[in-house]
Symmetry: C2
Subunit: 427 residues, 2 copies
C-alpha cells in the first residue's frame, strides 16, 4: 500500500469526518459493538491462527496471554465501546465566547486534531479501543498493530471499518498499515499526518520520536519513584511499594526506584528486605543500602539510577531529606509518576509542588496513573511530554481548537486609527 | 557563555520559580515597570548606538523604524507590563477535581511549562514583552533577540533581570543569549529546554523546526486567504480585502491569495483592478483572471499558489463554488487564518466547519488574528501547529498541568481484585 498517497486522501476527508454529527459517530460505535458480537466466530478463528503461530515460535507465555482474544476480552472490548459512546462529545465545545466589538464575535471551538497515526503493541483489544477513540473524537486514523496478532487485527479492522461506513462516515477515515516498513513511510507523512502516538518498547518509541517531523505524543520510559519520608507510616509505605512493583511490573507506571530517608533506614530497610525476599524482588542499591539489608543487593553507581527494569527488580538509595529526593527524581526520572509516602502534609505539599512530573502522588500507588482509573473512560496512551496532553490521554487529548471570528465587514484599520475601540466582553 | 551548562542550572531552578506566589511574580512586573522608567536615559543611549550602527549599514528605513526605542515605545512597554500584571494567575488553577474513591482525590492543576527558549526579531519592545510573559507564567526563559538591537537588548535585559531578583525570584530564571552561534547550542538542549518559540523570517523558523528535538511553537508561514462568495456584499469584500492586504503587508496575518466565485468574476474583478491600481498592489493570477482585469497581471501556474508575498502583492484565482475554495485553502494554505465574505449564512457555516485553520473568519479582515485584538492582553506568538496552542498564544499557551493524587495508602491491587470499586465523582 502507498501510505503517503493514502494519507493525502485521508487528509482531504478529515474535515468531512470533523463535520459529522455526534449521532453519526455514536451510531458507528453502536455498529462496531454489534458487529463484533455478530462476527465473533471469525475473530476467534483468526486469533487461533495467531496463537498457533506464537506457539510454533515458542513466544513467552506472558506475551501469549496478551495475544489471546477470547470471549472475556471480546466482552470487555464491546462494553468499552459502549461506555465510550456514553461520553459527551469532545468536539464542537465552545471554549471561549467573546464580543471583541459590536457585531464582531470570537468563538474558540474544540475540533478534532485531524489525521492521527497510532502504532500499538500486539493486543487485539488495543485495535478496537484505539479505533473507537479516534472515531468518537472525529479523527481519521492510520492504525498499525503488532505483527504477532496480524490475523486478528485484519479481521477486527474490517469489521470496524464496515461499521463506520455503514454509519455514513467517510470511507477514508480509517486505514490499516500491516507491514513494518510502512511505519517508516508513515514517519515521512508530516504534511498530512498531524500526530503520531507510538506505544510499545522504550527503544521503539524513541526510534519514532527521533525519526519524524510529525509531533509525537507518548512516553519512551517510565522511571517512577517512591520517596519514603522520615514521617512515613511504615506499614502504608510497604503496602504501596509492593503494589507499585508487583501489581504489573512490566507497566510504565510500576515503581523502579525507592528513595528512603536516611533517618529511618536502619529501621525500614530490614522490613523492605524481608518483604522483597518473600516476594522474590531483586534489589540493587548503593553500598549503604547493601549494609542494611539482609539479602543480596547488587551495587549501583550514582549514574546507573535512570534504570527501568519492567520486572520484579528495584533500585534503592538513601537521601538526607525531601530536597535530595526531589533533586534525584527531577534529574533521573522520566517525568511520568512519582510518589511521596509521609504523614507530614507540609513535606508532601512541598514535594507535590517541586516534582516536575505528569503525576505527583501522596500516599498511594504509582499504578493509579491510568486513564480508566482517572475516570476518562478510555485512554490512548500516557504522555510524559509537557505540551498538549500530559499523563493519561483520553478523548480530551485528541482534540484541538479553532478560532471562529464573525464580523460585519470589520477591518483592523479602524482600530489602528482609533476610529473604533475593542470592547473585549465575554459572553 | 556555555548555554548547555546554563540551561541545566535553569532546569534545576524551574520548580523554584514555579513555586513562587503570584504576589512575587506581580511584584517583579511592578519592579520591571518602575526600573524601565528610572533607567530610560541609559536605555535610549544604548538604542542610539544601535540606530547609528543601522544608519551606517544603510539598513532599510522600514526596519530602522522597528529598531528604534523612544519615549512612545517605552510608555507602551511599561503599560503592557502593568496590564499583564492585572491578568489572573495562569498557574495553580484546579482544572479538574475528582474523587476516585473514598479518600483518593485527583486534582489536575495548571503549572508552568518549565524552561522556554524564545528567539525573537530585532525589536526592543519584544524583549520586555516576552520576558514579562514568561515571568508572569512562572517559566524560566532563555531570550535571544535580533542582533541589530544588541545594545538596547543588553541594557533592557539587565534592568529586567535585576527587577526579577529584587522581587525574590531565583537568579537563574532569566538568561540572555547574544551570539548567533548560541542558537545552535540552544537547539541541542532537549533534555533541559521544554519549548522553543522562534519568531522571524519563514526561513529562520523552518530552520529551527528542522534542527531540534525540542518541541517548537510558532509558524513558519502565513498564507492567508479571502474567498469572495457569489453572495458576497461587494463593497464589504473590497473593504475587507484592502485592509487585509494594506494594513500591514509584512505581517503573517496579511492576505496573500484571493479566491473569487466565478459567477461574480466579470463584475467583481474590474472593481478589484480599479482598487489595486489605485493602491499600487501588484497582482498575479490565472489566465482567466488576467482577461478580466484592466491592469498588469502576472500569470501564475496552479502549483505557484503557496506564495507568501509579505508585500503589496497578491494572488487571485477563480473557483466554481465554496467546495473548490475550501479544497484550495486546505491544500495551499498554511492553516493560519482564512476568511469567507458572503451574506449567505449557510455557506459561511459550511466554510467555517470545513477549513482546517487556526482562525476561520466570516466577513472581517484576517488582520484580526492577534493576541491583543483577541483580548489576551499579550501574545508570545502565533501558532499554526495543532497541538498545545493554536492561533495567537497568550499566557494560557505557556502553561501545562500536572495530576496530583492524594491517597491514604490506596493500592491498585484492591481494584484489580474487585475488593474496592472506583467512584469517579467530580467534586
Amino acid at each position: 500500500m502507498e501510505i503517503k498517497a493514502e494519507a493525502k486522501k485521508m487528509k482531504q476527508s478529515a474535515p468531512v469526518l470533523a463535520a459529522s454529527t455526534i449521532e453519526q459517530r455514536n451510531q458507528a460505535l453502536d455498529f462496531i459493538a454489534t458487529a463484533l458480537e455478530q462476527n465473533k466466530a471469525e475473530i476467534f478463528e483468526a486469533n487461533k491462527k495467531d496463537m498457533e503461530y506464537a506457539e510454533s515460535k515458542q513466544i513467552a507465555q506472558s506475551i501469549q496471554k496478551r495475544l489471546k482474544y477470547d470471549e472475556n476480552k471480546l466482552r470487555d472490548s464491546i462494553s468499552g465501546v459502549l461506555e465510550l459512546k456514553e461520553l459527551s462529545d469532545p468536539i464542537g465545545k465552545v471554549l471561549m465566547h467573546r464580543q471583541l466589538d459590536d457585531g464582531l464575535i470570537l468563538k474558540k471551538i474544540s475540533v478534532p486534531i485531524g489525521v492521527i497515526g497510532v502504532i500499538f503493541e500486539a493486543r487485539p483489544d488495543a485495535m478496537v479501543q484505539v479505533a473507537s477513540l479516534c472515531i468518537k473524537s472525529g479523527n481519521c486514523a492510520i492504525l498499525k498493530g503488532g505483527k504477532e496478532t496480524a490475523n486478528t487485527n485484519r479481521v477486527l479492522f474490517e469489521i470496524i471499518k464496515n461499521a463506520v461506513i455503514k454509519a455514513g462516515l467517510p470511507e477514508q477515515c480509517l486505514l490499516q498499515a500491516e507491514q513494518h516498513n510502512e511505519i517508516d513511510e508513515l514517519l515521512k507523512c508530516d504534511s498530512d499526518v498531524d500526530l503520531l502516538i507510538p506505544r510499545g518498547s522504550n527503544q521503539f518509541v524513541r526510534y519514532i520520536m527521533e525519526n519524524t517531523k510529525i509531533p509525537v505524543m507518548g512516553h519512551s520510559s517510565g522511571i517512577c519513584h517512591i520517596y519514603v519520608d522520615k514521617d512515613a507510616n511504615r506499614e502504608e509505605a510497604l503496602t504501596v511499594i509492593l503494589d507499585a512493583k508487583k501489581n504489573y511490573p512490566a507497566a510504565c507506571n510500576a515503581v523502579e526506584t525507592l528513595l528512603i530517608h536516611r533517618d529511618i533506614a536502619t529501621e525500614f530497610l530490614p522490613l523492605l528486605a524481608a518483604m522483597f525476599t518473600e516476594e522474590n524482588v531483586k534489589v540493587n542499591g548503593t553500598a549503604e543500602v547493601q549494609k542494611l539489608m539482609a539479602m543480596e543487593v547488587g551495587i549501583m553507581q550514582e549514574e546507573e539510577f535512570a534504570m527501568e527494569y519492567n520486572d520484579m527488580e528495584i533500585s534503592i538509595k538513601l537521601v538526607s531529606d525531601v530536597n535530595e529526593a526531589i533533586q534525584h527524581i527531577n534529574y533521573f526520572g522520566s517525568h511520568h509518576t512519582d510518589c511521596i509516602v509521609t504523614e507530614n502534609d507540609e513535606t508532601a505539599e512541598f514535594f507535590v509542588q517541586m516534582i516536575d512530573s505528569a503525576g505527583v502522588y501522596h500516599n498511594c500507588s504509582t499504578r493509579f496513573a491510568d486513564g480508566f482509573r482517572y475516570g476518562f473512560g478510555a485512554e490512548v496512551g500516557i504522555s510524559t511530554g509537557k505540551l498538549h496532553a500530559r499523563g493519561p490521554v483520553g478523548l480530551d487529548g485528541l482534540v484541538t481548537y479553532k478560532y471562529v471570528l464573525q464580523g460585519k465587514g470589520h477591518i483592523v484599520g479602524d482600530y489602528s486609527s482609533g476610529k473604533r475601540k475593542f470592547k473585549h466582553k465575554d459572553l
